[in-house]
């Protein structure tokens, strides 16, 4: 079968779903952040495949921007993780529920 854009879309969707699954399921905060990265990666894949199929550079440019955003987000997120670990001595997100109520 010829590879169509639909294959790429499906692949992107599956990667996204796996990342979602990781975010919901895991208790370790670092793993959650990594699953988040997976989701972003899936979105990037979708961008680039659309860019190819419509012969437009915009998708790739946007993917680069998305990459930058992911990098910044990881940096800040990990700084927060370190800070939480220093304060609470745990990174189990089930325990971190100060915002309850």
């Amino acid at each position: 079968m010829e590879i169509t854009i639909n294959h790429y879309i499906l692949l992107s969707f599956l990667l996204f779903a796996i990342g979602c699954f990781g975010v919901i399921t895991r208790k370790n905060l670092i793993i959650v952040l990594m699953s988040l990265e997976l989701m972003l990666n899936a979105a990037n894949l979708a961008f680039v495949s659309f860019s190819r199929f419509y012969n437009d550079n915009t998708g790739q440019v946007f993917m680069l921007m998305s990459l930058v955003v992911a990098a910044c987000e990881v940096a800040v997120g990990l700084a927060l993780v370190v800070s939480i670990y220093h304060n609470k001595q745990t990174i189990n997100i089930d325990v971190l529920k100060l915002l309850k109520g």
Partner: protein, 170 residues
């Protein structure tokens, strides 16, 4: 040829992403994520996006994953209770089923039932599509503003990180 490569690397990406989610050891998850990124990068190359592929390897797999690794090593996290727990199976099973359902719908409606829309081989692009010149020109002419804004974003992130992780030295 294209098809085989695509299926191979697609399944590799899927497998390594499942490993990311499921693995006990955070370091193992990080390695699996790096692998995922590599395979995705190959997929990019198959989509004629050379520049983007290289950047992904350099930045994503190179810098970001290293950052993750540093943090994990630094915190020495090895907690049994944080493993992928087999509790709450119904939730997980239902999630998996939901995903399968949508995939099935997608396959049925779009892939099987559709026409010749978007076949990769039939769509031709120019020779230097996705090359560094083209992308570079595009960034610095059409999308100069978002480019500058991302630089501001990086600056903000740097400042944020410094502020967050500063220890009060009283």
């Amino acid at each position: 040829m294209d098809t085989i490569l695509f299926y191979f690397f697609a399944s590799a990406a899927l497998a390594s992403s499942i490993v990311v989610v499921v693995h006990r050891n955070p370091v193992g998850s990080i390695v699996a994520l790096v692998l995922t990124l590599f395979t995705t990068s190959v997929l990019y190359i198959m989509l004629s996006a050379q520049f983007v592929a290289v950047v992904q390897v350099l930045v994503y797999a190179g810098a970001i994953m290293v950052l993750f690794m540093f943090t994990v090593m630094f915190l020495i996290l090895r907690d049994e209770s944080l493993n992928f727990d087999a509790q709450n199976v119904p939730l997980k099973v239902s999630l998996v089923l939901a995903v399968l359902l949508i995939t099935g719908m997608f396959v049925q409606n779009v892939i099987i039932g559709s026409s010749n829309a978007g076949k990769l081989a039939s769509l031709s692009v120019s020779e230097d599509f996705g090359s560094i010149e083209q992308v570079g020109t595009s960034i610095f002419t059409d999308y100069i503003l978002p480019f500058e804004l991302t630089s501001v974003l990086i600056l903000i992130a740097i400042i944020g990180v410094i502020v967050i992780s500063k220890r009060s030295t009283d």
